[in-house]
């Protein structure tokens, strides 16, 4: 009896949420884990993992802004630019639309450590001004989007520049892989928090990975293409 | 009878997050092939109306008609309308997208799928028409404001629109550049019979330029008529937050017996001539 009631409640809530979601299409920042979603232990764990990277980022920024205080303005503007970029709706190749993260481009332009600080502020602003994401989950979201994404993007960029020397190729993969890394890390975070009863972490990773692959893989390709085009413009400017 | 090319009927619109409506039951008619001035203070809803007429914003309520037909509610229909109605934004920085006048002016044509050969010719012609032949390949950021405004106008006129919406076209221009832009508009109007709607808060300009005036206050149309009618309502003008054209104030200061039988002058320069001839 109890089960049926629960299933009923779930169905009603799901239908209502779906209705609201479809009628007022808030642009989906699909990869932001929402407030309260992670079990408390995991929420704290990801904060702890994230903070050292963040402190390193702050330290690198302190060093440069001490020499040239005007750079703070540049950083603030770069952050605002990243926020606005991530608010643009990007058509993805499957016809749906989603938001670019901009972290790949940012990592190539400013370096991965400064980007980890800017990316975190962008996430905080998205949480406060757009209600996407949250505070308890900020550690997890920042680790996937502001640490793992830029690091992966930057590493790929440096590696491709060194081996092939083809800049556009490197930019494409930096942007696309920054996206993909974010997506994979988020899926792993969810799988760790909610391991499958029968298959454990691995099975759960497949499931979460599969669900988000629908939006995230086309988005990564779109973002790669977009970033190459933006890069071309910036070169011409 | 005057034919109206554009009509709105009780159109209301509130921006998301806005506290009060930008357009509030706005009903108005735009006569075909005339020069209409849209008057109102900053923030009275003039720019919002332009975005509605272009189908870029959708009314929350109310209906709009173009050539007597209701506005389409599909993308293709709206795109067709946007090819017939051109909007010149107040700030050219807002509208110029590509790097040089030549590239930028071709943007709309390319979106409309015009063949490259024809694009080349039409762009050259449009740039020549606004007197920027020598600067066709100069980066836009190196142009002066007056030049940028003319590029923006060329980018719209190259589409051969039947209706031209002008949002404060003379704002920020010095007198020389303003004169030049107005002459260019007069040429377009006379040569091609384009319907023009100019949003402005420069009453001197409106009085001199327009065939028809529409006054907007807080998103509603409070008066429409020929300039002489509108500007005769001295008390109402100040309620609407509008000044009166200087030339009319001066004209009224001249004793009745002297101006008896004369038409009020349109511009200060006309008044100058009048003074020179009739007081001598």
């Amino acid at each position: 009896m109890k089960k049926r009631k629960w299933a009923g409640t779930l169905a009603v809530v799901a239908a209502m949420a779906l209705y609201l979601w479809i009628n007022e299409p808030q642009s989906a920042y699909a990869m932001h884990i929402m407030e309260g979603f992670l079990p408390v232990g995991w929420a704290i764990f990801w904060w702890v993992v994230f903070i050292p990277f963040f402190m390193l980022g702050i330290r690198s920024l302190r060093k440069v802004t001490k020499e040239a205080p005007e750079l703070k303005i540049m950083l603030g503007l770069a952050g605002a630019f990243t926020f606005v970029l991530s608010a643009l709706k990007l058509p993805s190749v499957t016809g749906s639309s989603s938001h670019p993260t901009g972290t790949g481009l940012g990592a190539v332009m400013f370096g991965p450590l400064p980007m980890s600080v800017l990316g975190t502020i962008v996430l905080l602003f998205q949480a406060v001004l757009l209600a996407h994401g949250g505070l308890t989950t900020l550690g997890a979201n920042a680790f996937s989007m502001a640490v793992a994404g830029p690091m992966a993007g930057y590493a790929v960029y440096v590696w491709l520049m060194r081996t092939t020397g083809k800049q556009k190729l490197a930019i494409f993969f930096a942007a696309a892989l920054a996206d993909l890394a974010t997506y994979i890390v988020t899926s792993a975070q969810l799988a760790l928090a909610f391991p499958s009863a029968s298959g454990g972490f691995a099975a759960s990773l497949m499931k979460f990975g599969g669900v988000f692959a629908v939006t995230q893989i086309p988005l990564a390709i779109s973002e790669g293409l977009l970033t190459v085009l933006v890069w071309n413009w910036l070169q011409a400017y | 009878m005057i034919h109206n090319i554009l009509e709105t009927e009780s159109v209301s619109y509130t921006y998301p997050g806005g506290r009060k409506p930008a357009l509030d039951q706005l009903t108005l008619q735009i006569p075909q092939a005339k020069k209409t001035a849209l008057l109102g203070r900053n923030g009275s809803g003039k720019s919002t109306l332009f975005l509605q007429l272009l189908g870029l914003l959708r009314p929350d309520q109310g209906a709009m008609r173009f050539r007597g037909q209701p506005y389409p509610d599909n993308r293709r229909g709206l795109r067709a309308i946007r090819e017939e109605i051109g909007l010149v934004f107040q700030d050219p920085e807002q509208q110029l997208i590509l790097n040089t006048p030549r590239e930028d002016v071709s943007y709309g044509l390319r979106n409309a799928g015009v063949p490259e050969g024809e694009i080349r010719d039409r762009v050259r012609e449009a740039i020549n028409a606004v007197g920027l032949t020598h600067a066709a390949d100069t980066p836009i950021h190196a142009l002066s404001l007056g030049q940028k405004k003319r590029v923006a106008l060329a980018g719209v006129m190259v589409m051969r629109p039947r209706v031209l919406l002008l949002d404060e076209p003379t704002a920020y221009l010095d007198r020389t550049s303003e004169r030049r832009l107005l002459d260019e508009l007069a040429r377009i109007h006379d040569a091609e019979g384009v319907t023009m709607i100019m949003a402005t808060h420069d009453m001197n300009l409106a009085y001199e330029w327009a065939d028809h005036c529409i006054v907007i206050q807080d998103g509603a149309c409070v008066m429409a008529g020929v300039p002489g009618e509108v500007f005769a309502r001295v008390a109402a003008l100040s309620d609407w937050g509008l000044s009166r054209p200087a030339v009319l104030n001066l004209w009224d200061a001249i004793p009745e017996r002297l101006r008896h039988g004369h038409l009020a002058p349109k511009a200060l320069s006309d008044l100058e001539d009048w003074l020179r001839h009739h007081l001598a």
């Binding site: 209502m16 979603f37 703070k72 643009l88 990007l90 058509p91 | 870029l56 934004f89 509208q95």
Partner: protein, 267 residues
């Protein structure tokens, strides 16, 4: 746009004048309780915060529902992954399943445990999000900066955030104007043109951002900027006695319930 709505509520609501630290402390306490309790208490928190946010602060009920609904988007997207177990045919089911479906060589199953999890998660997510929404809908960003400063967030970070916030709206405006202009001129049709137009827009926006950099640096210097952006101190404010008493009593009741209720921490 949701951003403008949230921003305009944050400084235009009826609870705006309460000190941000008080609102922050209240929301944080409830968030903690919401995290650590079960569905019954969470439901009470959801209802109580609805009262604070909608009738009391004056946020429109529809907007509040839409915000919570959009929060649920992520939940809904994860629901299949949370609830459905996929097991190769022939393998033994580790737990009892309520619903079972055979598909190709796999069995798809929804277990009782996963349904419990989904329901518990739903309540927790709604309760926690209510806390967060209460804070962001009643407190402007400027006040939140003051709270962050009290929490000893590094000054450098606050300075960068201040500059970001100051420019956000100007850049968003520019972006939306450019987007409008592109559409007015026939842009953004079809996937290819939309990606190309978005790239142009981003690049233009970058150019504008950089020209603002020069101008704004001058503006700052003209007003005495040397090396640090000195922020204004917070304005003192008071919580009316009635609200303070209600908040404290409510928090006490929820804490006691959490401790004493059957299934609570002490039982």
């Amino acid at each position: 746009m949701i951003l403008k709505q949230i921003d305009s509520y944050s400084y235009g609501n009826r609870l705006r004048s309460l000190p941000a630290t008080a609102k922050g402390g209240f929301a944080a306490s409830l968030l903690l309780l919401a995290y650590l309790t079960g569905p019954a208490v969470q439901a009470a928190i959801i209802a109580w915060l609805y009262v604070w946010t909608v009738p009391r602060a004056g946020i429109s009920a529809k907007f509040y529902a839409v915000s919570l609904g959009s929060v649920l988007g992520f939940y809904l997207l994860s629901l299949p992954a949370l609830m459905i177990e996929a097991i190769p045919e022939g393998a033994k089911m580790a737990v009892a399943a309520n619903v079972r479906l055979e598909l190709g060589g796999w069995q798809l199953a929804v277990t009782e445990d996963s349904m419990h999890l989904a329901v518990r998660l739903l309540f927790r997510v709604l309760a926690c999000s209510s806390c967060f929404l209460f804070l962001i809908l009643t407190t402007p960003m400027a006040d939140l900066f003051q709270v962050l400063r009290k929490l000893r967030v590094p000054m450098l970070l606050l300075e960068i955030m201040q500059i970001m916030y100051r420019f956000l709206f100007a850049l968003l405006q520019t972006a939306s104007e450019l987007y409008t202009a592109q559409r007015a001129r026939g842009g953004h049709h079809g996937v290819r043109s939309r990606i190309a137009d978005t790239a142009t827009l981003a690049a233009r926006l970058f150019g504008r951002t950089m020209s603002r950099y020069d101008n704004w640096t001058r503006g700052l210097r003209a007003r005495g900027f040397e090396d640090e952006l000195r922020l204004a101190p917070s304005e003192p404010g008071n919580v009316p006695a009635k609200l303070r008493i209600e908040a404290l009593i409510g928090l006490a009741i929820i804490t006691l319930t959490a401790l004493l209720l059957p299934g609570g921490w002490l039982s």
